[in-house]
Amino acid sequence: MRLRSGVFAASCLLVEALGVALFLRGFFPVAVRSLPRREARGDPPAEPAPPGPGMVSNWTKIPPPLFKKVVLVLIDALRDDFVFGSKGKQFMPYTTQVVEKGTSYSFIAEAKPPTVTMPRIKALMTGSIPGFIDVIVNLNSPALLDDNLIWQAKTTGKRIIFYGDDTWVKLFPKHFVEHDGTTSFFVSDFTEVDDNVTRHLDRVLKREDWDLLILHYLGLDHIGHMTGPNSPLVGPKLREMDNILKKIHISLLSKEEASLPNLLVVCGDHGMSETGSHGGSSEGEVHTPLLFISSAFEKRSGPLTQPGLVQQTDLASTLAVGLGLPISRNSVGNLILPVVGGKTMREQLRFVHLNGFQLSRLLQENTPAYEKDPGYEHFKIAEKSHGNWIKLYLEGNNSEILLNLGKKVLKQYLEALKTLSSSLSKQVAQYDMYSMMVGTVIIMEVLLLLLLSIPKALSSRAEFEVPLSPPLFSLLFYLMCLMLCAVHVIVCTSAESLCYFCSMSWLTAVGVMMLISALMCGILSAIAKIFENSRLPLKNLVVSSSSWSEIDVLILAGTIGHVLSLGASSFIEEEHQTWYFLINTLCLVLCQELCRNNFLLKEWEPHHSTTMKQNFDSVGEASECKNIDIPAAGNSKLSKATSSAEFIKGSDKWISLASPWIILICCRLLRSLNQTGVQWAHRSDFGHWLTSSEHKSELSFLAAVSLLMILFLVQRRCSLVSKIAMALGLLGVYSYRAAIGNVIFPWQHDSKDISKGITEARFVYVFVLGIVFTGTKDLLKSQVISADSSVKSTGLWEVYSGLVLLAALLFRPHNLPVLVFCLLIQTMMTKYIWRPLKCDAAQITVMHYWFGQAFFYFQGNSNGIATVDISAGFVGLESYVEIPAIFLTAFATYTGPLLWAIHLLCYLSSEVNRNSAAVGHGCFCYAVLRSVPVAIYIVLVTGLRYHLFIWSVFSPKLLYEGVHVFITAAVCLFFMAMDQKHSQKV
């Protein structure tokens, strides 16, 4: 079967996408840790039996609740210094007073990354550490099925009322006797989200018919996202929170009866970084305050000490004890002892014993060798001494001795609890290794196949024979299938932990096994062919490798260097630096190439220049031994060398020489637009300057100029209709931004009320669809009627400009210059660099890929989850609709790479007259460029899966890479479709 490179590359990428999906499914397992909660209600343990006969403790029930009513106030993105720092003193006077002088205990609770709301709520309520996959389902949170505090409270008949973020309502459906959820997606809403919570407060505080009240305030988080932690809006919001806390506290105190005190808990789900976002693991993001306020506590005396550090998961156990509930089975938290410090020694010991028992049971269920765990051993020792203590207690010994002994036992327990929870926290990452391995094998095989076929795929015909039938029917293929199936059966029957790949239907599994074997056979036959060829003399290799141009060397070194850099966590955090560095160097090398072209080429005699300029772009082509194509290439290059000197003349020559420098300056400007990464993310950048509220008019001006520039740069190659549509669409973009309050019209001075801009956004969508539709129509026309290629290139350009318009709508206004510079650089590169230099398709593809990557970071992305702009998914939507939201967010995130990829297609298909196989080459190179880093990265991540930074650095990057593969697969399919049309014509 004959396959063209484009088709081959696209199918390879599809298979690879399958492999990546399988790997991701294995890497981010849905943690099944303990028994389902229905069976989880085993009897609570009794107090440890005292040694010796005849004596049995009679306390077998769960201890009674310590507090009557509990109010939990969760303030989203409340950072520790908002309460304990200078901001707290300034804006939260009541809380500060309670912390410093009142009856309260204050702590700094450490949240585990990912510091995103939903996993944090889960951590607070179950005491477990949710896996990274929770981030992805964050937008669509299903009900929480694990054993948790809310469920426990509900089953024991507590009445719970909830107001705030509706994530809770989704997580705990039908758990609340009364609730009012507010959606957290309209990030620009600072007041209404909180007023929706507060308006219920007066009424609820008067009532007596509840036991647990949960309030989740979102306003602070929204302020952080829009303006950062140091904005002037934070202060008033904190003051508002302080007043609410004051109101609740006073009301709780006034209603207190003699029987049981009430408890007010104030906490944050996560903090915020210096830029105001969250998701990562910087200090500001993980440190949140945790306050327990109750009249049961002793009044604080003596000087204020620094609040102690606890884990966020500790809250679940503490609240469970406080409410007289069993501790959730999956909780890894420790009881915060000061909270129960007012109780008798016997009760305190009982509490920590319950906590320790729960932790050790969790350990038993998760590790086979639990008995050797130091935490478990400590716990057993402590339990024994606890028994002795009870013996003394029942014998009615001296209280002084009892107290001292009790303190000692308590200390032993606390030690055991700490060790137990740290060894449990370590185990949270349980990987589904089998699925991961299968995915890795598929990806590596695809990569090998792609690499081995480079020489063939980049030949001038860009097609090659795929020997489909011989490998399929060979003995090897069947043997491998059989062996793999046998392995599959063995692995799946012996595995104890849950495995996704095993849980698939056996037909699918056999299909995957056949795929793996077929790929393997393909690789083997390709290798065999290469060995056959290598018996031919190797002279060509030497000749061609010595004639590499600087660009080729840089491209190769850059690609390899980038892949290698993925092994270091700091290089992943600062990956944008790598790309900026590479494109800068690329520009300088291009500049040098242009200089040589302009100044030196004239002096050279033709034969000299041919040997000099025989550029072969990649290793594969260098190893190409059957030199069918080389004469052709040599000829074309000869003509290229002689003609290009005359090609550019006069002023064009100087513009051409200046263009790399202009591009460099553009890149430098873009770099300072959005500071990204981790180490230097806090540096001030233009983006923050523009988005701050004082500079609204500057932002408006910039946005207007950018939109005009976009129109100017795009319209050159469009038909008249799309020109008008484009202009109207861009006008719509501006009015959309004006409607949601980002920019202002010059005649509009008073700040009018902010709307969601639904109409304006939909107006733009209509034009986007219209332009894309016109383009597709042209493409279809060029295919069916086989009109001249100009129709096709207009069609492609129209599709491209439709995407540009969509990007302009979705980008934040301060990012519009990114789009302008993207178009500008593409125009300049096309006109003054690629055309004069006559770079071949592979070089052009690599340059597009590099610039695409750099633009991914220029638009403010990073390899952390926090920079994903989810607000893009709500442009023009009334409420959260899953499919469009995901599509729009993905598009907005990957705009840079996507636009460059489509531009590559536009450019290559306009070059078709010169090189008929250009599109195929481009598609193939694009596939290779994407496969290499993914494959290597997946192997690296598998190796580093117990690395300290796996959740904060490597996993987000893995997600980004995975999504990028899916997008690239789609792009390559588009490439293939374009290539198809061309070849039918020829």
Partner: protein
């Protein structure tokens, strides 16, 4: 003849290397607290100054490009001024390129500029000494197969090595090791210096190995 020339080149280059090494060692005797890392800016000044004076002296003594015609004093002066201007311009150009590569524009201007001066010393100054303020000659030397003597070959190699050294020197900056040499521009200037010294040593050796293939066309 050729062997002797290569030996002369080697000796000159080794002296250059020595001068670089001395700038790192000698000032510590005169000035307490001097270290290359700790007082980096001072070292940058000293190193550029020493290397440039040494290069100029070497040029005056050896005169590798024997200019055929005796030129007038005024001509010499204008030539010298031109050299100065070229050097200054190359400093500015390097500074611009470094900023384009991402160095902060407003903060730490001194550091960036001194680094640019160091790079110019290692590259442009040598070119000026060897070729004079003659752009055409520069372009010839730095195009492929353009060198016309072993001195020009050596110039090519050291310049390339310096630039590569500075380029590679930027790699460790993003790593989060918090070492003193990761501070801007220490790693880059060290990289450039190492590249320069490596180039000085490599050049004669490379020319020695390839002396059979190297044939210099006369103009």
């Amino acid at each position: 003849m050729k062997e002797a020339a290569i030996r002369r080149l080697l000796a000159a280059n080794l002296l250059c290397v020595l001068s670089v090494v001395l700038t790192a060692v000698v000032p510590a005797f005169f000035w307490d607290g001097f270290t290359v890392l700790g007082t980096h800016l001072t070292w940058l000044c000293i190193c550029s100054g020493c290397v440039s004076t040494f290069n100029i002296l070497l040029h005056l003594v050896l005169k590798p490009n024997l200019s055929p015609k005796r030129s007038s004093f005024a001509h010499k002066i204008s030539r010298f001024l031109k050299c100065c201007i070229y050097f200054f311009m190359s400093c500015i150009l390097f500074h611009a390129i470094i900023v384009l590569y991402g160095a902060p524009l407003i903060e730490s201007v001194t550091e960036t500029f001194l680094f640019a001066v160091l790079l110019s010393t290692f590259t442009t100054l040598q070119c000026l000494c060897m070729l004079g303020p003659n752009i055409q000659a520069w372009i010839r030397v730095f195009s492929k197969n353009g060198a016309m003597s072993i001195w020009e070959n050596s110039l090519q190699i050291t310049t390339m090595c310096t630039i590569f050294g500075a380029w590679f020197g930027a790699f460790p900056i993003p790593l989060d090791w918090d070492r003193p040499w990761q501070v801007w521009p220490v790693s880059c200037s060290l990289g450039a210096t190492f590249g320069y010294t490596a180039g000085l040593i490599i050049a004669p050796l490379w020319i020695h190995w390839n002396r059979k293939q190297l044939t210099y066309k006369s103009r």
